[in-house]
Amino acid sequence: MNIYKKAKMLPVMLIALALVLSGCGGNAANNSSNTPGTTPSGNQEEASGWKGTITMYAQAYTPDAKNISGLRKDQRMLRVVADEYEKAHPGIKIEFIDEEFKDYTQTVRVKAAAGELYDIFWGQWADLNNTFPKGIAEDLTEYFKKPNPYIPGKPTWQEAMNETVVNETVSPDGKHYNINGDYVATAFFYNKDLFDKAGITEAPKSWVELIEVSKKLQDAGIVPMSQGPDYSWFQRHYLTDFYSKEFETISGYDKNPGISSLDETIAISKGLLSTTDERFMAWWPLFKQLTDTWKKDYLTSEPGIVANSAKNDFLAGKTAIIYDGSWVPNNVKDANVTFELASFNFPVLSTADSQFSTGIDASGAVGGPNGAFQFAVSTKEANATMKEEGKKEAVIDWLHFVGTPENVERIVNENGNFVPTWPGTKPNDSMSELASQASKELKAISVGGSSPNLGKNLQRVFGLYLSGNINFDKAKESVQKELDTAIKEYQTKNNTDFSQY
């Protein structure tokens, strides 16, 4: 009888268990401690009284990372900063997310949709302005205009930041969604031993020399380069040069600094950034001169998919040159390679290379304020725990603490892959050459922001052209089709009247 009674209770217990489990499954972030505190203080967090755990995904600056490849095992400066903060703010814990995401955009979308995005997450300005769904990140503009309690003597937080970066990374509607403290530089990195083997004593300084060097390597039986020809990267060098005189026009359509997706769309619709303007694709045959010397495997591949293979080829000494970011020296060090590494910037083009060249130095056009010190704060819609009273203020207070020139410098320099950009910060000595790119005015021109898939679709056409599967005319036709589709999509989604501009 007793057993029978228990058996009858079992379904009820199972249902109860299911309901309890369902309650737990909804939002893991809710599990963080959130006991209200009462400590009064001048700081936002203490004034808010919130206590608990702040989660942060700090990408390349993640301290003590075990699961993120390419990070130094002894990197822990952000943890040191967090420890200092925790010590000064009892009851607040900073937890760093030690995970590697294969598709970060997808991760952010999915986590935000579930209300489980991290309190502070790595978000680059272009993604926050154009790619991620609207409303996942807090607008930080009002905080920029107020003092940061941890930076004495500055009337506003913004004054401690890099003015150019702040101005040029603003969203089309005039908002700032992240604090932006570092700069990534890109360059051609090369294996000096392989250069020596091919009898090349100097790094190329012009486009012609770059082609010559590639051919010399090829003749010596060495693969000059082998990687996905990243359209979104390489277009910036050429378009920034070819359209340098139109930068103000293109960036001025929305009356805001920098080129927003609206500026880009209007420029496409006006035929400026389109195939009707000869400059727009004039660099394709020029670039093909270079890729004709590359190993063909990756020409039609999506750069992201083959990035690791391409880098491994370079680290293994199978290829002589790789075009990549300022993290390469650390990758080389980690891989314990025996060859000597050196780098050279993307060459300055001349009218001898292309009649459309304006001769400006566009070597820094690919890099820019797109590194890893790019932190955004989740909204309560993207992160259910942000609904807790006082939590938002506490998170902003931690961001204030991290976002001081001193902390930017020590966090960025410890990592060693990027350059700190805030006034008063100094880069590591090893980065000083690449840091010169950061001092240049950011006037990069590119397309890809008008629709989420425009960049990827152009990459496909680019790959087919470079691999010789389609000719220039066919490529031109396909590119125009993609541009037309993108601006139509932009117009439909944003209800934009192009005739206003």
Partner: protein, 293 residues
């Protein structure tokens, strides 16, 4: 047993299976319902969806990428059905005709053992084999067929076939075992009677084994059809649909427009149509490949 007791017993039974149903509805049916209803919205995966009627379906009619994906998927289905039926059936026949039971067991085991290798590993291995300096091209060079060397995944004219033909010799252990068990299920008297009638060798295969294995053929064809339409891993990992859109398939399009472009509403519309197409093919297959069993 009184009526009240009967109800008690029935209710207890239902209570036992209720948690399973709750989870089933929650995790299986509710997402499907969400996908179906989301197909009529412009949901970006985060903000509140807005009802846009049939706009997503109208867009599908003019979506060139989806058209090419559909053509690719049809080619893929045809190849996939052939490859999932013919080689496993031949191997099942061969093993079935091995006289010694122990040897039959050994061969079966040998064909089943590769199952332990995760599918993703196979895909990555084949990606290496297909590289310009990969094993396939090296072997071709070694045997004097260097002129046949290709960029197997880099040439838009052959990339789709390279992916489809990955996994040589295409003997799915699962399918082989299904066929084998079907052959084992043929009554001995029928086989003996067929022998007396002169049905031996190929005659027996075509007049006895295949007709009596139709339930197995039907099952494998349906599973291959569904599997090939849903199989996103090889094109995603090996080429992400490239070069150009030469290896793009509808499921990859659905995935990319949803998770990469954030157009979940449109992705759901593609999913809805795929669901209907799979359903249609399945019904058609059930009708065409009739079986007495």
């Amino acid at each position: 047993m009184k009526l009240k007791d009967k109800y008690k017993v029935a209710l207890t039974g239902y209570a036992f299976i209720l948690p399973t149903f709750i989870f089933l509805i929650w995790f299986m049916y509710y997402p499907v319902y969400q996908a179906l209803s989301g197909a009529f919205t412009n949901w970006d995966g985060f903000n509140a969806p807005q009802f846009i009627g049939l706009d997503n379906f109208k867009r599908m009619m003019t979506d060139e990428v989806l058209s090419q994906s559909t053509v690719n998927a049809l080619i893929w289905i045809a190849f996939s059905i052939i490859l999932s039926v013919v080689p496993p059936f031949i191997v099942a026949e061969l093993i079935f005709h091995v006289k010694k039971t122990k040897l039959q067991y050994l061969y079966r085991t040998l064909f089943v053992v590769p199952i332990v290798i995760p599918g993703i590993v196979t895909v990555l291995l084949w990606r290496l084999l297909y590289q310009g300096d990969g094993a396939i091209n090296q072997i071709l060079e070694m045997i004097g067929l260097g002129s046949l060397q290709k960029l197997w995944l880099g040439d838009p004219n052959i990339a789709l076939y390279s992916i489809m033909l990955m996994g040589f010799p295409w003997i799915s252990a699962f399918n082989m075992l299904i066929f084998y068990s079907g052959l084992q299920g043929i009554p001995q008297e029928v086989i003996e009677a067929a022998k007396l009638e002169g049905a031996t060798g190929w005659k027996r295969v075509f007049r006895l084994d295949i007709p009596l294995s139709l339930p197995q053929f039907r099952l494998i064809i349906i599973l291959s059809l569904i599997g090939s339409l849903q199989n996103i891993i090889p094109p995603l990992i090996m080429t992400n649909g490239g070069p150009g859109y030469s290896t793009y398939v509808p499921i990859l399009h659905m995935y990319n427009v949803s998770t990469v472009n954030g157009e979940f509403g449109y992705g759901m519309a593609v999913a809805l149509i795929m669901f209907l197409v799979i359903l249609l093919f399945t019904i058609l297959n059930m009708k065409l490949v009739k079986s007495e069993s």
